[in-house]
Symmetry: C2
Subunit: 336 residues, 2 copies
Amino acid sequence: MLEPAALPLPVRILGCGSFVPERRVTNAELEHELGLGAGWIERATGVRERRRGTCDTTLSMAAQASTRALEAAGVRADELDLIVGTATAPHQAVPCTAALLQRALEAPDGRSACFDVNSTCLGFLTALQVAGQLVASGAHARALVCASEVTRHSINPEEPESAVLLGDGAAAVVLERSPAGSDACVLAARFETHSSGSQLTVCRGGGTAQHPNDPSTTRAMNLFRMDGPEIYRMASRLLPPFLERVLAAAGWSRGEVEHVVPHQASGRGVDLLTRLCGLRAEQVVRNVETRGNCAAASLPIALAEAVAAGVVRRGERVLLIGTGAGLSLGAIALRF
Amino acid sequence: MLEPAALPLPVRILGCGSFVPERRVTNAELEHELGLGAGWIERATGVRERRRGTCDTTLSMAAQASTRALEAAGVRADELDLIVGTATAPHQAVPCTAALLQRALEAPDGRSACFDVNSTCLGFLTALQVAGQLVASGAHARALVCASEVTRHSINPEEPESAVLLGDGAAAVVLERSPAGSDACVLAARFETHSSGSQLTVCRGGGTAQHPNDPSTTRAMNLFRMDGPEIYRMASRLLPPFLERVLAAAGWSRGEVEHVVPHQASGRGVDLLTRLCGLRAEQVVRNVETRGNCAAASLPIALAEAVAAGVVRRGERVLLIGTGAGLSLGAIALRF
């Protein structure tokens, strides 16, 4: 892949917001349900609890997180001219979630363009890259990027190692061009897909290949299936040189990155990234212990919570990095 | 919405390709099946036949159309560094169709970034806008944008006016930066969503709100439903001023546009656009008579067929324009 030429992009995250359902699902509850020994989940995955909604929907969580992001940014919904939605699965097949979100936010007709982006767990990073380019070029002035995931319907009880990871949640950011005098920018962005790993994380249903009305579609096809050990091996091989290239493009040494916000794949996944990439534990933002893996919403929830807690601050070097089904790698290096 | 500032984008479509399944579904066949009078379909919709595959999948059609686009462009799959997929519904929920397409094209691991874009029938235009920005900024050098739609599973027999429209098909384009001396560029792009019309075209299933495994999900929820007359009214009101703004941004009078390639919503839809926007019939590219409405793939199939037939040629002013569920409007004005 060629190195981006037009970087740094003069774009900044004006505000973040997140939302997780109230209902906490404890390890004890899941260990009982799935017939796992006491303590197995925390030992195997590092996750202590995750949220799973009862009535919360992809759209309702997207609206809650977006409202908080708009508040944090001091931007009204009628000031948005771009709304990008992202999720592993949309709220419904038609129309796209972003159009439904325009309505839910009472953003005015015709003022914003709405579309969805999908690259599974990398969806938020991809949507941020796409919206950042559209804002930097002047095609849009103020963008909302929102990831919202209801994962609870896709949990595969036959696969405890993924079943215990997944949680529901949503997060959003508001983007705009950096004003004169601000050093906020995107310094580097890099995305690559290694489809020799395309069968490592799958949900065969949910599309046209196994349409919900097709009699050959089984319930199992509508559930996540992942080959954890093989993903771990492939990520171990790909991540270190990938990180090197991103840091080189940003002009950063790994020691001077103030915060790395990774996709919260699992406790082991975050540990792997930290160790393999030679990062210090205190550089790495993590919430997988209490949120689990919320797919595309995981990374932006971690970012929004770290910003709300005052951990990530203006002017700092922040590296957003993740892996997703595909197998895809993505990273955005930004001066926050 | 602000007018784009960074236009014209120095990007050109290097090659187009399309694919439709072999099986032709005639009006006589559908009139018999749906209990409609002889001749009703052509009178009501202008469609004479549409293709509906038997074994063709979203992925297989995407691969066929993409291979043809690469051949037309003289580009090898290993020269791509971006693959963007688009469809109303993906091949499967995980991973995204673009990642599966990288594999199907035998494009090498790690050389291209892959993601999907969704704005229903506007998906191709949105993906073209997104990929065009990424290529223009230098983030990627050579992009494949591919729309592929299997609509046959979502046809609603209770709604003959939409059931007779839908067809299967795929189309792709290869994009790159315009070389020095070429006048090929994107002169204007405009997208707006009017979500007061978000309930006019829906498929409530296919996502998390009515997950395929949810016992409350009915077969009918997994089918398209559209309020044709109300969409017609809304589009009639919105299209003329929208076209004015796009033409103004491109600096074109309507008379000097060589080709308008609209989304092939229906024969009446294309007629409406032609009449309302004051276009001459010979300016408007149409294939709805033989292809029906192939959702996101409709517009690029019409474009690819017009290019292959020598109708659309290098250097001409081409306006791509469409509507989609949302209700969304989109247009891209390009010097081909």
